[in-house]
């Protein structure tokens, strides 16, 4: 075994997720994000759930969310309009953290 720099996908690949396909637990209003200049979520979300797409828009993907709350607290323009925990039995399950 060896220790190497892990990509975002590899890091999240270590974790166990049960994704609630029909129910995003965080709602992001892209229209607000479009006018946001600061966009702290892009660098501060530990799961990189917030990324820029080719058009330069903020894209949010909740599947790999680690449920930490960082996006909610750093969001400066209110693009994160609703932040909740996933429904019971969904989301990340840590085994050895």
């Amino acid at each position: 075994m060896t220790i190497k720099r892990l990509s975002p996908e590899e890091l999240l690949g270590l974790d166990r997720f049960e994704v609630d396909e029909s129910n995003p637990h965080i709602i992001v209003d892209k229209a607000i994000c479009a006018t946001c200049k600061a966009r702290p979520c892009l660098v501060a979300c530990p799961a990189r759930c917030y990324r820029l797409n080719k058009e330069g828009e903020v894209n949010f993907e909740y599947a790999g969310c680690l449920e930490c709350g960082t996006c909610r607290v750093v969001c400066s323009d209110g693009g994160v309009t609703s932040w909740n925990y996933p429904r019971a039995s969904f989301g990340v399950s840590f085994r050895c953290s």
């Binding site: 075994m1 060896t2 220790i3 190497k4 720099r5 892990l6 975002p8 890091l11 999240l12 270590l14 974790d15 600061a38 702290p40 979520c41 892009l42 660098v43 501060a44 530990p46 799961a47 990189r48 680690l66 449920e67 930490c68 709350g69 960082t70 909610r72 607290v73 750093v74 400066s76 909740n84 925990y85 996933p86 429904r87 019971a88 039995s89 989301g91 990340v92 399950s93 840590f94 085994r95 050895c96 953290s97």
Partner: protein
């Protein structure tokens, strides 16, 4: 209590919630302990050290039953620049004697164990339950809502963590600010136990805890490393506000830290098995909300933003346990639910939680000195290099060499100013 009303519903089976439920159940109170994880601890991440005294307060000897990792006898401070590191290593076998001062912990194991202990005392433990809201009647909190179900209690204890949605729903405090928390990221790296002991110079069952500065690209924050049984917890805590103002992703900065030669040598041959993230209260005493209770409702642990970070000592779980115990004692002593809030405050004082928070109340201000996170660690390493380097050339006079290094990294004015600021905050 009427048949369908619990004496207490505790929301969140972390250290605070389980300490509370354990104590209440032991006194014969009816307690429902809820957790949103499929098992207690499944949603929790922490750096990984628990100061043992807190479990001793709940019940002497309780820690001996806990799934603790290694007792910490080496305290290390690492000052890093991008190529090297200066590490101060304090070995104190006394920290491992009698009741050892602290242990590294893995939350999935610790939290599940503690909830199980509460259950063994008679608490009803229900994992896999997300509490959606509170039931309020005549200005009192009388229970919780989960999906279609309602559950009632004389007192609801919100042990729902740093984000405390329940505390906000109860109207006790607004949402936490980015400046008041740290965002921690962490990898758990499996490594053979004997190798850990050898690399850190400890005996079996003993361990090291390390804090690191200079690994955050100048962002307020620091790295940590804890030795566990057969694994290492490695991570960084960042000030999310500052992290959000620069352009490098915190994951990348964390991976740099992991691959830094001084860290990599310690974890080489290991296997990354989990990646986690969590917020931590960072403001210390001044971050604690003014109001910690209302009729029928109290907040404990991270939800109450209890936490101490001196740069060297990082405490959260112990304070969580003490506050959970304080809430339980308050509920036991209260003649009516309305008395719980005042009694809880008294217990927080009596159990010295408030005194501990106050002792370090201004430390947070030190971390506003940005140079602590880049320039000073760099200065330390430059000085070390100067002191240790031999290359056959004519050495600079000692004093001049050191002064040049200081000047290269910071100005004397800033050095004095920062020294004064630190002096004022401690």
């Amino acid at each position: 209590m009427s048949d369908d009303t619990f004496d207490a519903i505790v929301v969140g089976a972390g250290p605070a919630g389980s300490a509370c439920a354990y104590t209440l159940a032991k006194e014969g109170r009816s307690v429902l302990l809820l957790d949103r994880g499929n098992s207690a601890g499944a949603k929790n991440v922490s750096g990984g050290r628990l100061y043992t005294y807190a479990l001793e307060l709940v019940e002497p000897g309780l820690y001996e039953r806990a799934p603790l990792q290694r007792k910490i006898v080496r305290e290390q401070i690492m000052l890093m620049n991008d190529r090297g590191a200066t590490t101060v290593d304090y070995f104190d076998p006394g920290f491992g004697e009698a009741v050892p001062q602290s242990y590294s912990v893995i939350r999935a194991a610790l939290d599940e164990w503690f909830a199980g202990e509460a259950e063994a005392q008679g608490a009803m433990v229900a994992p896999g339950v997300v509490v959606d809201g509170l039931i309020e009647e005549n200005g009192r909190i009388v229970g919780i809502r989960t999906g279609e179900d309602e559950m009632r209690a004389d007192v609801v204890v919100a042990a729902d963590g740093v984000n405390s949605l329940l505390g906000q729903k109860a109207g006790l405090f607004p949402d936490v600010k980015a400046s008041a928390v740290g965002v921690g990221v962490k990898e758990t790296i499996e490594l053979p136990d004997e190798l850990i002991s050898a690399r850190f110079g400890v005996k079996e069952g003993e361990g090291a805890a390390r804090v690191a500065i200079g690994c955050t690209e100048g962002i307020s924050g620091g790295g940590f490393l804890y030795t566990n049984k057969g694994s290492i917890s490695l991570g960084i805590v960042f000030n999310p506000e500052q992290a959000g103002r620069q352009t490098r992703h915190i994951q990348d900065i964390f991976q740099d830290y992991k691959m830094h030669p001084a860290i990599h040598a310690l974890i080489e041959g290991g296997t990354s098995v989990e990646y986690g993230a969590h917020l931590v209260p960072e403001k210390g005493y001044h971050g604690i909300p003014k109001q910690l209770s209302r009729d029928g409702f109290v907040v404990v642990g991270d939800a109450a933003q209890f936490g101490i970070n001196t740069g060297l000592i990082i405490r959260g779980m112990d304070l969580a346990i003490v506050s959970g115990l304080a809430a339980a004692k308050a509920i036991i002593a209260a003649k009516q639910p309305a008395d719980v809030g005042t009694l809880y405050r008294q217990q927080l004082e009596e159990l010295l939680l408030i005194a501990n928070q106050q002792a370090y109340q201004n430390f947070h201000g030190i971390f506003e000195i940005s140079r602590i996170f880049r320039e000073y660690p760099a200065l330390a390493n430059d000085a070390m290099q100067f002191l240790f380097r031999v290359d056959g050339k004519k050495p600079k006079p000692m004093l001049k060499g050191l002064l040049d290094i200081v000047k290269r990294n910071v100005s004397f004015g800033k050095l004095l100013g920062d020294g004064w600021k630190i002096y004022r905050h401690i």
